[in-house]
Amino acid sequence: MKRLLNIEWNKIFYYKSARIFTILYFLMLAAVGVVLAYIKPEIGGIELDIAQLGFFNFPDIWQNIAYVVAIGKIFLGVIVIMNVTNEFSNGTLKQNLIDGLSKKEFLQSKLLTNFIFAAVSTLFVFAISLILGFVFSNSQDAVFRGVEFIGAYFIKLAFFFSFCLFLALLLRKSAFSLLGLFVWWVVEGIISVVEVLIIMARNNGNIDPEGFFISNFLPLKSSANLINFPTMNPQGFITGKSIFVSSSVDWMFVLSTVFYTALFIWLSYRLLKKRDL
């Protein structure tokens, strides 16, 4: 494993774009924390201070921060894709295999990199949330009660990178892989809409938004459902308390996302094994 890490380190660390984008990504995460805490825009004469709304209160802060920074995963996703498609365009995948790296070891080295990216990003988000919570939370009780969202964040990233890896191995060009990601996302959206329309047609136009949707368990959707948009209650705003309602991670989505992660890793392996390079 140390050998695979050494190899990957040489490949990525000295690759200028990857280095710059990784540094930018982490600066961005830090900046999100600073911006959320210290920028208070005025809207219609009223100063909007999200700290006042209870955004940074324990235990809600874990979900809130994890939800906001999750979009940044695209950044690392691009690096993950480039890291694989470059091996195709440089012909180095072929050369690595000829030099005696097995296909399995190649995949392992890429997965290892992906999981390290996910782990470092998770640690970073954990630290930011903890610091902002200690500074701005109105109560220091139950600090770690919602910390499961940080675990969900790791699973979400690990899934996303595995999916990107699969697309990169399948399509071999970075532009196509990113396009593939976008197309997949659109297709999932269309499937969701179709399902809603079918249910509404059956129930004379009525639908329960909290009801069960199969499309919620599609790969990207299920990983998105790990960390939902925080539930809010305007009542809290009127009474001057937090408007956020604590919630928890839905274990069904943890299971389905882990399942998809394993599935895409397995598909990647099969693809690599069967393909003539």
Binding site: R3, Q95, L97, G100
Partner: protein, 301 residues
């Protein structure tokens, strides 16, 4: 002789196209093997299979008498098609990755860079290299683990004459150290100059497999002319030594292909006894190139 590589009944189909067709040959230790064939004859596919990057349809092969694993690959150095490296890394860093994959010692990097004459450029990025330098770096990388076998696929392709000479000298130098070399090429001249053994492929099939010098084991032919070539041709055909006699295009020379060994002296004497005085008499053996063209032609016909 110790066998380094044995290929048995290897076949590879891409859809309907058969790239390698029931190919069998073996490579003995310490020789330079040429894998010769026109473009598209299945050379690269064969190398791809024995190097684990192409899956065979059927067939098997053995490295060093054992079924192939990634460990056997670590005892081989190979370059396929073009030099493949990370363009943004220096020569040294690129070799470091190869050394990590092969499990070669780090101090080998400088040693091999010196061997291929790139030691002075070791901190320069791969993308700044000329094609000849890239090719030499690839050979250096392939030699990192002091392999028992070196596989080169079209190593002089696209190089200028000076680069070609450098690479050929390097190959002979490596061979003199006892490394077995398998060289794929579509250039007869190259195989003739460098190799001791040759496997000729066409459309995925073996046409010839054996020593290069035994390939020219035919009895050769005479280039011959006299004042009256018609009469000469008649007399030649009446003698028992020749398969056929053909007039060559416009140069006034007949080409008499031998059926048995015969010296020029004996032929000259026999013809003189028949009343023919020769203007021209040269005995030749066909070059590999002509043989190669002939072999492929026979197969097509």
């Amino acid at each position: 002789m110790e066998k380094v590589l044995e290929i048995g009944h290897l076949t590879k189909k891409f859809g309907k196209m058969t790239a390698v067709d029931n190919l069998s040959f073996s490579v003995e230790k310490g020789n330079i093997y040429g894998l010769l064939g026109p473009n598209g004859s299945g050379k690269s596919t064969t190398l791809g299979i024995i190097l684990n990057v192409v899956n065979p349809t059927i067939g098997s092969w053995k490295w060093f008498g054992e079924d192939p694993t990634t460990n056997s690959l670590k005892k081989i150095g190979a370059i396929i098609e073009r030099p493949n490296f990370y363009p943004y890394l220096s020569a040294e860093k690129n070799l470091e990755i190869v050394a990590q994959i092969k499990g070669a010692a780090k101090h080998k990097i400088d040693e091999k860079l010196k061997l291929v004459g790139l030691f002075d450029r070791k901190h320069d990025k791969f993308r700044t290299f000329s094609l000849g330098m890239k090719q030499r770096l690839a050979i250096g990388a392939a030699l990192l683990n002091d392999p028992e076998v070196l596989i080169l696929d079209e190593p002089t392709n696209g190089l200028d004459p000076q680069g070609i000479i450098q690479i050929r000298e390097l190959i002979l130098q490596i061979a003199s150290m006892g490394t077995t070399i398998i060289l794929a090429s579509h250039l007869l001249d190259e195989v003739e100059k460098v190799c001791s053994h040759v496997v000729i492929l066409e459309k995925g099939k073996t046409l010839y497999s054996g020593r290069v010098d035994e390939m020219t084991a035919g009895f050769g032919y005479f280039e011959i002319s006299s004042g009256d070539n018609h009469r000469l041709q008649e007399v030649l055909l009446s003698l028992p030594h020749f398969d056929r006699v053909s007039s060559e295009n416009g140069n006034g020379l007949l080409k008499a292909i031998l059926r048995e060994d015969l010296s020029g002296e004996v032929l000259n004497k026999q013809l003189f006894e028949q009343g023919i005085v020769l203007k021209h008499l040269v005995k030749r053996k066909e070059s590999l190139e002509q043989q190669f063209l002939q072999i492929t032609k026979n197969q097509n016909g």
